[in-house]
Symmetry: C2
Subunit: 526 residues, 2 copies
């Protein structure tokens, strides 16, 4: 009987070999997979799981029959061959998320226009927009909390989660986890060349469960919120590389994995920029599937122009001007921009985590209309023992339902919708000396320059326009419309989650009554 698996799912080759010495370090194992129809070959590294067990994991992007054979310095693992058949993906399985520019081919590229470099796509061509959340240490919590986290995610709008491998030490995060990634103990020390299979089996399971929920696992490989008894932020360069290679071989076949080299790399003074570049090369050498790669800053934005970075994973670096900077970051880096920390909804004592929902949602919309993506987090310290941003558990805030509303709105934005670039230097041409119609109190909207200097705008040619007002609450606003067309106009209340379609259609100019905060105006050609 032929083994059959679904496209983009994992084919796992499990072998038994030598358990002597330190197989984590001593045994090399690879398998080469060949698509019989296309001839495509992919060489994948295996990994040791303890007690003589070895695995090679493979994720097929091509349907049909695949053959494989192994090579290893362990004779028992060497020369193993086999075959399996890959069936087409089911309708909710789209494979990896990758830069749209690497995925979208042929005529489909036209739909993205100039926005192709700033977008993601599943590998089957389905557009992907990240609506991420943050649970740094959720897999280090007690099992019941992990289960509740998954349940919460299942009923949330989130399709990405930022999560660490190692436990977190910080306020509200002071307990030791049940499982560590390494063999050993706090008392006796950890062996950085021998992994703890129980830890990794749990991680395997959680990443797979995320995949089943359609949630990308944005795996944070290293981070500074460590304590001396753990020491995982202060391992040697060789130990770091040993760990990174293992992670890449073990999880490269998981379709929903993204690699984040670090949370707040700039708070890890023991690691240089050259270390991070080296670590990226280790990931690339061991991940046969080329997953997304980035790194996250605290204060100093990383240079995402470095070729190994597939996208930006920024923390805002100014307490006031947050996702507004997405305009600049797109220009600076020319890649998809994810603002992975723009502040969190909650009431923890630091300014990164005590925003009201209104302000976090404002940052979400501001960033999205500027052509980027914003990540959620929640930091209420008076809602129970778990704080979502670190532990997972339950969500308590006002944002998730509004992110769900927002996600539906943006699901209908044309792929080529382009943020207008607010270039205030053209204010020089402000036509303040325009004459008025007799008796008019107002300079006509059509004659006003810089119609949109104050608000972000997303526009697709003459077809579609989305304007977001944020804090601002004009009593009304006039919008000049391209000549020769008719337009439908909606007032979107991003906070109260309503869409109010204005009666009829409009040409030439439309005056839209507004008058409160957090509104957007959508104008579509009909």
């Amino acid at each position: 009987m032929t083994t059959r698996i679904e496209q983009y799912r994992i084919f796992e080759l499990n072998l038994v070999g030598d358990a002597g010495g330190n197989p984590y370090a001593d045994v090399a194992l690879h398998a080469e997979f060949t698509s019989v129809e296309s001839g495509e070959k992919i060489r994948v590294g295996g990994f040791y799981r303890g007690r003589g067990h070895y695995s090679v994991r493979f994720m097929p992007s091509i349907t049909g029959v695949w053959q494989y054979h192994t090579d290893s310095n362990d004779a028992e693992l060497n020369g193993v061959t086999g075959t399996f058949t890959v069936d087409a993906a089911s309708s909710d399985n789209h494979g990896r998320v990758l830069p749209a520019a690497d995925v979208v081919r042929g005529a489909a590229r036209d739909a993205y226009g100039s926005q192709l470099p700033f977008r993601f796509s599943y590998e089957d061509g389905t557009p992907y927009e990240p609506y991420g959340t943050t649970c740094y240490a959720w897999t280090s919590q007690p099992r019941d909390v992990q289960v509740r986290t998954l349940s919460t995610l299942a009923n949330s709008p989130f399709n990405k989660i930022r999560m660490c491998v190692f436990p977190k030490f910080y306020d509200f995060n002071v307990l030791d986890p049940e499982l560590f990634a390494y063999q050993g103990s706090i008392q006796d020390g950890f062996d950085h060349r021998r992994f703890n299979e129980s830890f990794f089996e749990n991680l395997d399971h959680r990443i797979e469960q995320l995949a089943d929920l359609g949630v990308e696992a944005d795996i944070i490989l290293l981070h500074p919120y460590d304590k001396p008894e753990w020491g995982f932020s202060m391992m040697s360069r060789d130990d770091d590389e040993f760990y990174l290679g293992y992670m890449a071989r073990r999880y490269g076949a998981c379709k929903n994995v993204w690699w984040s080299l670090a949370n707040e790399y700039d708070l890890m003074p023991g690691k240089s920029l050259e270390d991070w570049r080296r670590y990226a090369r280790v990931i690339m050498a061991n991940d046969a599937f080329g997953h997304l790669r980035s790194i996250h800053n605290c204060v100093k934005v990383y240079d995402y122009n470095e070729p190994w970075c597939t996208h930006c994973s920024l923390q805002r670096v100014d307490t006031t001007r947050t996702t507004e900077c997405i305009t600049d970051w797109r220009r600076q880096f020319g890649k998809p921009v994810v603002c992975d920390e723009a502040g969190y909804e909650g009431n923890i004592y630091w300014g990164w985590g005590n925003l009201p929902g209104t302000e976090l949602m404002r940052r979400f919309w501001e960033g999205a209309v500027r052509g980027g993506y914003v990540t959620h987090g929640e930091t209420f310290i008076d809602k129970g023992p778990q704080v979502w941003w670190a532990h997972g558990g339950e969500l308590h805030g006002e944002c998730p339902s509004r992110i769900d509303f927002m996600r539906k709105i943006f699901g209908t934005v044309p792929l080529d919708a382009t943020p207008l670039d607010p270039d205030c230097t053209s204010l020089q041409t402000w036509p303040v000396r325009t004459s008025l119609d007799e008796g008019a109190q107002m300079i006509p909207a059509k004659e006003k320059a810089m119609q949109y200097w104050d608000v972000p705008v997303l526009r697709s040619a003459e077809n579609y326009q989305l304007v977001y007002f944020g804090w601002y609450r004009p009593l009304y606003r006039e919008f000049p419309l391209p000549a020769g067309h008719h337009y439908a106009v909606d007032v979107i209340d991003t906070w109260n989650m309503t869409v109010n379609r204005l009666p009829g259609t409009y040409e030439d100019t439309v005056k839209v009554d507004l008058g409160r905060q957090y509104l957007a105006v959508r104008i579509r050609m009909v």
Copy 2:
């Protein structure tokens, strides 16, 4: 009988001379005033008022007997002499506002510490903090509106007003004023060498009324919001200088005058940076009393390092990051920083004028705690025919009462209170690896670096600290206190205008419950 006037008030010498030709241009008139006791001499230019009438206005800073004599190319005006006596100022008359560094002498300077360059003072040494508002064209409105504006100001917290000489053309500002500054008419054109005495008598009166209310008149000499039929923004350089000299001679003796060369100088492409410097020299040459001088930008901040600028009169240049920039501007210019446009409360359609009161007040507090000053404006377009920012009339917003509250709070801040400079690079030292007390959930506040990276702080040595939380709403915050002292702690609700004194006094650390937006915490040594 000796003429007696009060110190800092105007002694006006009125003379009659030749009315032939164009006395505005042809007649030179000066008077030299000498303080008999001190020997101090001040030479002051006079100005023509029409129908053969000339005036010289003098503001004495020194009490006692003064003598004067005139010189002129008109024989009737030449060689006039006289004497008058100056009595000490009454208790609510403090003279001009000047840079504190130019006024405060001797031991009194110590009270300002490092903040002396950033502060204003009345010339008698009374501290002055500007709480300005904006009524660009109030003196160009019908007389009843002007009267109502003064009445509103009398019941407001404002002690400075930004006001243009010339009328304003813009939305809601399209009507011709009753009086123009020049002789002539829209139909026949204006004579830029002959002023309209009726216009200037009204302006005299209004500036004097402002002085009686304790309101500084921040006079905007030129501005771009003009229409072709008026043309006052497009006069020749010679005409501009002729006008500026006249203004400086006519109003230099008014204790409450500040000179703003322009509103939005960068929207006047016909005038170069060298023109503005030249115009500043004209003002300085003709204003015998050395009033405050600045200029206001639209998009491009002026270089306030130029020596003629006594202070900064900025418009915020980013729609999001507004009075936060005061930290940078203080560093850049080393002078008092007034953010004369940080957005207005109202609902006009542009983002500069449709803020809710909460956001404008946030910008006020943010700016003040950062060591600057913020100016008010109001732009409701649905509250009647007058819009305060241009016409004056009545105030409708939620800010004025809260500015009054704020002004009282800041009236008790020590003069040397210094904004902490949030230097995020020191985040590198975040002690995330600090060990905890056994069983504690929290890293102790004393061991946390960057206690204030997220909020602005004003601090006077170990005596006084004011922290403003703005948008942020931590459930609580711990404040480490200097050793060896006891402190009283207040929670100030800047929006609801309450001061809640915590019971007792504190040492070492104080944990303050917060939990909503727009709070400040004041900590004072007792």
